[in-house]
């Protein structure tokens, strides 16, 4: 009886997942994912199906099977559902976590642990003879294949770890003048930028000094920066795809939104060559703009970037909250 139930659940699982993956998945991955027609809803439906048939048919599969299903579902999610593909280092991390979670699930009490071990013990001992033969042949083959794969020479570029947000130096010298980055303010930030959110630069530029600076900054931006950083400041400029690291996306909350203006000033002025070693200055394509722009032009560009994206530069002042900033980079 139990064997029949187990067999049923195995068949339902394999067939069901096949149907889901090959037939239903394409339906849920249209060009424009919507609120309902997207991959994650698809995944939830599949999980619901798996849980559903087990409950409805009262199958009560054994622990070993449950554990492998759980593990497999996690693997499927990280491999096929999460889009775009996460880098393999992250996938290994996530799968390690999922495996640990599965292990905790298995070992939550001695009863379930014993139940989980039962089929493994039976296979090794020989009660499931066919399974034992298959496993004992398959295992060395798998190990051999894994060894072969690891020894096979590959021709990928080596990975390079970069610190995306290095610690800025205490001072920097631009155009012969030494600036202390701590407490350095943008001299053109003469007012709250939100007040000028909907100002139309061309009409208002004569009246309002702030908008004039933004306009000038925007002009500089479109003359110099948008080729890489994009005309929508999203890091998708026409040249962006050839660079590694790619040009910063200012719209992303992890770039200028998290940084101080003095940090930006240093970065724009010094560019790639001004980076410390841990940020791989040799691979950055960012020019040192102090060679092409005046100091005030650099400040105005920074002003423009914040205004356009709507982000505010970070402050470390006393009036800010009592918490510290634990930026996990």
């Amino acid at each position: 009886m139990n064997n029949n139930k187990t067999l049923t659940s195995v068949i339902l699982l394999l067939v069901g997942c096949g149907v889901f993956h090959y037939l239903i998945f394409p339906i849920f991955t249209p060009k424009e994912p919507g609120w309902f027609l997207n991959r994650y809803v698809y995944f939830l439906l599949m999980v619901a199906y798996i849980i559903g048939y087990n409950i409805i048919l009262n199958l009560k599969p054994p622990m070993f099977f449950k554990a492998t299903t759980v593990w497999g579902v996690g693997y499927y999610f990280y491999d096929a559902v999460l889009h775009p593909h996460i880098p393999w280092t992250l996938r290994i991390t996530y799968m390690m976590l999922w495996s640990i979670g599965t292990f905790l699930y298995i070992t939550q009490d001695p009863v379930t642990f014993k139940e989980f071990r039962k089929p493994i013990v039976k296979t090794i001992v020989g009660d499931y003879r066919m399974a034992r033969i298959v496993v004992f042949i398959a295992l060395p083959v798998l190990v051999g294949f894994a060894t072969y794969q690891s020894l096979l020479p590959k021709f990928e570029e080596p990975v390079e770890l970069r610190t995306v947000h290095p610690a800025p130096p205490a001072t920097t010298k631009v155009h012969g003048k030494s600036y202390t980055l701590e407490g350095l303010q943008n001299p053109f930030r003469i007012d709250e930028q939100d007040k000028y959110k909907d100002s139309f630069p061309f009409l208002d530029a004569d009246k309002q000094e702030y908008v004039k600076y933004i306009t000038e900054g925007g002009t500089i931006f479109f003359q110099n920066c948008h080729y890489c950083h994009g005309d929508q400041l999203n890091g998708l400029g026409m040249f962006s795809h050839v660079f590694n690291p790619t040009p910063a996306n200012f719209v992303d909350p992890g770039t200028i939104a998290m940084l101080r203006e003095s940090f930006l000033f240093w970065r724009v002025a010094k560019g790639g060559p001004g980076l410390p070693n841990e940020s791989t200055p040799w691979s950055s394509a960012m020019p040192p703009w102090e060679e092409h722009l005046k100091t005030e032009e650099i400040w105005k560009v920074i002003l423009f970037e914040y205004w356009y994206t709507g982000w505010h530069p970070r402050t470390f002042d006393e009036e800010s909250s009592s918490g510290s900033e634990k930026k996990k980079e």
């Binding site: 593909h85 996460i86 070992t107 570029e157 947000h165 205490a170 795809h241 970070r314 800010s320 909250s321």
Partner: protein, 659 residues
Amino acid sequence: MLGKKARSLAAFPLGVMLAFAFYMLPGVVGMAHAKQVFAESAFAEEAFAKEAGAEEQKAAEEGPKVEWSNDVFYKDWEGNPLKGIVSGAPAPELTDTDYNHYDFAPSRIVIWISNQQHLYMGSFVLAVPIFVMVIEFIGIRCKERDPILSRKYDKLAHDLMKVSMSAYSWTAILGGILLFTFITLFPGFFKYLASVFRPVMHVYALMFLAESGILYVYYYGWDKMEHDPFLKWIHCSLSVLLNLVGTVLMYLANSWATFMQAPGGIDEKGRFLGNIWHVIHSTLWNPVGVHRILGNIVFGGGIVGAYAAYHFLNAETKEEKAHYDWVGYVAMFIAVAGLIPLPFAGYWLMKEVYAFRQQMGITLMGGIMAWLFIIQAVMVGLLFFGANSYLHNSMSRVKGSHRYMKYVKYMILLLILSFTMWMTPHTIVMTPAELKEMGGAQHPVVGVFGVMSAKNTAVNLMITCTVLCFLLYQRANKKITVPWATVGNCWLSAIFVWAAANIVYLGVYGYWLPANQRVGLSVPQVSSTLTTLFVGTAINSSMFKDADSYGEIEWGNQSKVGAYAMFLLAVAFTWMMGLMGYIRSSVRLFWHVTEVVRDNSPDAYTLTIGEAGKILTFNALFVWVQFIILFWIGGLSGKKAKAHDEVPEAVPVPAQQQQ
């Protein structure tokens, strides 16, 4: 003789003379006294004038010798740097002659190992008295209710103290080795540090007299002081005193390390400005002290837990198994109780580091040391997994727990998902092909987990989940009979649901806020978590009044997985201590004393994380070899009062059951 008439005649002059004497004597005396006082005061004035004159003259001759200088950290009430009189030599500019080295290892590694081993053993030696104090106290308190259990607690406290004795002298030996390493390998630096901390180092050494004295009386007088209730209270007070002295000792030693990282009380050139309190009381002194007290509790709990788990696995008889299962439970309880506030102390420490030097803070969390914090995240995850696994396995042996065991898998799922968020780094290591496929350095879905908003959310959810598990464990074998049970349960559910919703909501909301406001959201998140802990425990415990039991807790039925979970916790604590200690020490980069005494040795560079990982793994393994030896020595001595000479009638239950 004098006739009546003569008597009356003589009486008058006698009376007059007497009266005269009566008035004159005090007058004379008074006058003499006044004269003397006047003379004294006149003399004093003269002397003072002479002295003052001499001083002035001296000052005039030598010219003003005091030099005032600006403190490198402390400020006065106006915000200007505090001024102090220079009273020390400037910091040396160290050259090659100020360093010695051995050929087999760089000096920096030798000092790291000696320091770390001393810290590990010191932490243990400070933790055990805390435990013993708590356990002895519980033993005294439950003496009337359950004399057998009280005896058990007392015996446990005594046994732990015995182990601590050999550890204590071993710690002192390691301290001596550390001191000699400083003197022989870093003489230039140590000369400067010793000159600044001169009185502190002496006080530290002398306080060991107090510590040792109290310790010996406490330990050797145990049996003698046990039976008389008053003496027993004295004995328990001695343990409190022992802890106080131990804490003061740790704080004194901490001042040297925090001075190196965040100096105060000296000027830019390193000259001592006269106020030893400023030197001791660096801005990181208190955060490090609090963090270390809590860390000691956690580490000690881990060690005792591992000790108990080992004996549990080794036990031959049922009683032994039961005993060590119970010891493990007590140890884990204390360890986890210390573990929960520990991240907040760490947060405070980071905040002070940022306040001291933002650059140091950024180096830690965004710069070259950022990956070490990812490794810390891994360790925290291991800790949570170990603690939760232990709780699950512990719960499973409690009768009546089946009704809660079915929720365990959901708690595990929540833990794993939270930890997935927690582990996601902001900078992902990837090949260029993957970078292209992702379309940028940030993944559109997973990339949002790289920032603090997500991490805070994740860790708060994990802690809340663990709290929930703990509450369920507490009530597992109880049949609640209080009349307001349903209301109580509703409140508990509401608190947890609200806390989870609040944490998630604030986490998501944080993305739309500027960075410095977003960081402040951690406060309400943490408050939600702490509310579930304190209020939840309070409500839960008060529901146990007059509860029926599903059955006693069968000590001794812990599964092997639970025992290994305790091993995992012990090793994870040890490794984590090594890691965080390395971070704290190496964030100084190429300074011995930040921005005052530069490290000019050949080892001044920052190690790669791989090298650091290898060395601290060695440290973690090596200290456990020492712990094993110490426990073995502790078990060697004399009366081996085993558990079987006190066979209890019933299997003992923990005190909390007797609400």
